[in-house]
């Protein structure tokens, strides 16, 4: 298998929209937001794909509870892993390729770039309404490689995820500059881990401060897509690979995620 030296087809012709999920900061919930957006879009009747390009820390397989299946080849490329019988949610992750889940992928940039080119180009996604690309933190090799390879097809834009505190929004400001420099449209900013309601007394604590995402959106003239609260139920759904949207349809967290996914869909269709 040789990605960089052989010419290959790009099977993204039937993928309608490509959305990157970015953040300058790690651990702000890019993978959680990617997973929940994908589930929300699927519940809205869309066919969704997730490409997990976080080579050093792939989290999506666990969050979707798909384990570590073997990835197989068909005539049109590598077949993604489907989370459901209807094949409405497809996933491709580096996590599938590791023999030992604790094994560290100790790669320098050029090798990551080669891997991502192979990833992006050779997956047989088939027909998708939206392909979400979950990225590692930063503005480096993975991000440049994803853009170089996906731009040949299309990139609708990026959703930026931040937590409310200034240390995080500071990193996201840098990511906004990255988007401007590389010509990626910013579809909007999501504030995650925004406020925690104590389950014992309902007192709301702003553990990671409050309002930084919205402020950042104003400051940079970006759309503010919404806030997702710090919800231990969401955390444990993610940990157990359960569909939060199915389990807690009445929660405030669900309505926040749902409204974000609706706004996102609308902006993709304009």
């Amino acid at each position: 298998v040789c990605a960089a030296s052989t010419p290959h087809f790009i099977d993204l012709t039937q993928v309608r929209h490509v959305v990157l999920v970015l953040s300058g900061k790690g651990g702000v919930g890019k993978s959680t937001i990617t997973t929940e957006l994908a589930l929300a879009l699927r519940h809205a009747g869309k066919r969704v794909g997730i490409l997990d390009v976080d080579l050093c820390g792939p989290s999506i397989p666990r969050m979707l509870s798909v384990g570590r299946p073997d990835v197989h080849q068909c005539d049109s490329g590598w077949v993604p892993v489907y989370t459901d019988a209807q094949k409405s949610l497809a996933l491709m992750s580096i996590g599938f390729l590791l023999e030992d889940p604790d094994e560290a992928v100790v790669w320098r940039g050029p090798k990551k770039t080669a891997m991502i080119s192979q990833f992006v180009s050779d997956v047989a996604w088939g027909e998708l309404d939206v392909l979400l690309v979950d990225t590692p933190p930063g503005t480096s090799d993975e991000h440049l490689a994803v853009l170089e390879n996906l731009k040949k097809h299309r990139v609708d834009g990026a959703v930026l995820v931040t937590t409310p505190q200034a240390v995080s929004t500071g990193d996201v400001r840098r990511e906004i500059t990255f988007c401007k420099k590389t010509g990626v449209r910013i579809l909007g900013i999501i504030e995650n881990m925004s406020g925690f309601a104590c389950p014992h007394c309902s007192e709301c604590s702003n553990i990671f401060s409050k309002g930084g995402g919205e402020e950042l959106a104003k400051l940079t003239g970006s759309v503010f897509l919404g806030s997702v609260p710090l919800d231990p139920l969401l955390g444990s759904s993610i940990e157990q690979g359960k569909d939060f949207i199915e389990s807690f349809p009445d929660s405030a967290t669900f309505s926040a995620i749902n409204s974000i996914s609706q706004t996102l869909l609308e902006s993709l269709q304009t």
Binding site: S59, R108, G109, T177, H200
Partner: protein, 328 residues
């Protein structure tokens, strides 16, 4: 057939470099085949000499982002520097997401030589080289590596008791570079930071594997964001639940010391945003007490007494990273 990626790099210093079948398609192939990568980087020896006046070097690592590496690094530096007889420096090698300038109250400062927070606490970060807080460092690996080399070789570190190195998440260029560039000098080891959930631990186990591969000793593990006490009703909530037993279980399984569990406290994020030491702002808080107990822990105390000032270790702590794809 099964999907087989370019997983098998013979290593840039190996005989097979650039020639093995797995090198086909690697952008590094030509350079490896030319033999240029087989000679050791002369900077490694220069850095060894340069840092011979630094008694202790501690790396702060985590496979996962946003678990509190920079917060911990900053507060470890503050805590060590609270002893006015000690000289402490904090180096931020997170090239694309430098948080240390803000956490240390130095945001917006522009210098090329490092900055002093206190008489005995110096800080260096790429953040000081940027002209605006919006500046993005859109660099591929080799350029990031060059920056790290410059930080170690060209900054005048002087006589130090401690050099704390804060790193970005992952196991990639920055991590290989810092380990490699420090390979001709003594490194005390790494403190690994995690949060309690399995989603975090699964990445942290990879970082531990990385340390083992490059023979970097692990000083211990810190569990951050461990439980939250409601300021109103005083009940504890597990916001990031330790579904697989948390760091405690992982440390027991892997036979590693758990240095402490730091609870969530909204005042920590606020102090970091304001660039003040949380340990000074609320010294009596449970989280500050855990910080102090970590610094006072037998594992960290052992480092204090281990090596005398200006002693260098002539034996490189890690072998050439021949089993990985190196790129300069």
């Amino acid at each position: 057939s099964k999907f087989i990626p370019h997983l098998y790099c013979p290593g840039t210093t190996s005989e097979q470099a650039g020639k093995s079948s797995s090198c086909q398609g690697c952008p590094n192939q030509k350079m490896c085949a030319s033999g240029a990568t087989k000679a050791p980087d002369p900077a490694i020896a220069e850095i060894g000499v340069k840092l011979s006046t630094v008694a202790h070097k501690i790396l702060v690592l985590s496979g996962k982002g946003g678990v509190g590496k920079s917060t911990f690094s900053a507060h470890l530096a503050h805590a060590l520097a609270s002893d006015s007889t000690k000289e402490v420096a904090l180096l931020d090698v997170d090239i694309c997401g430098p948080s240390i300038p803000r956490i240390m109250g130095l945001e917006g400062e522009q210098v090329s030589c490092g900055l002093y927070v206190d008489d005995n606490l110096a800080v260096m970060s790429i953040g000081f080289l940027l002209s605006s807080p919006d500046d993005a460092v859109i660099w591929r690996g080799p350029k990031k590596n060059g920056m790290i080399k410059q930080f170690l070789r060209d900054v005048d570190w002087g006589e130090l008791d401690y050099l704390i190195v804060d790193t970005p998440p992952g196991t990639s260029d920055e991590h290989l570079s810092i380990v490699q560039y420090l390979s001709s000098t003594h490194v005390d080891g790494a403190v690994i930071i995690t949060t309690p959930q399995e989603v975090s631990l699964q990445d942290v186990r990879k970082e531990i594997r990385f340390c083992q591969k490059v023979k970097l000793p692990i000083i211990g593990v810190v569990e951050n964001m461990s439980g939250f006490v409601c300021p109103k009703c005083k009940n504890t909530s597990q916001i990031f639940p330790p579904t697989s037993g948390g760091a405690e279980r992982m440390c027991a399984d892997l036979n590693l010391p758990l240095l402490g569990k730091i609870p969530l406290d909204p005042r920590i994020a606020r102090s970091c945003d304001e660039g003040r030491s949380f340990l000074n702002v609320v010294p009596d808080s449970p989280a500050a007490k855990v910080y102090q107990s970590i610094v006072q822990s037998e594992r960290l105390q052992r480092i204090h007494t281990q090596h005398t000032h200006t002693q260098t270790c002539p034996v490189p702590i890690c072998p050439p990273l021949s089993s990985y794809c190196e790129f300069r």
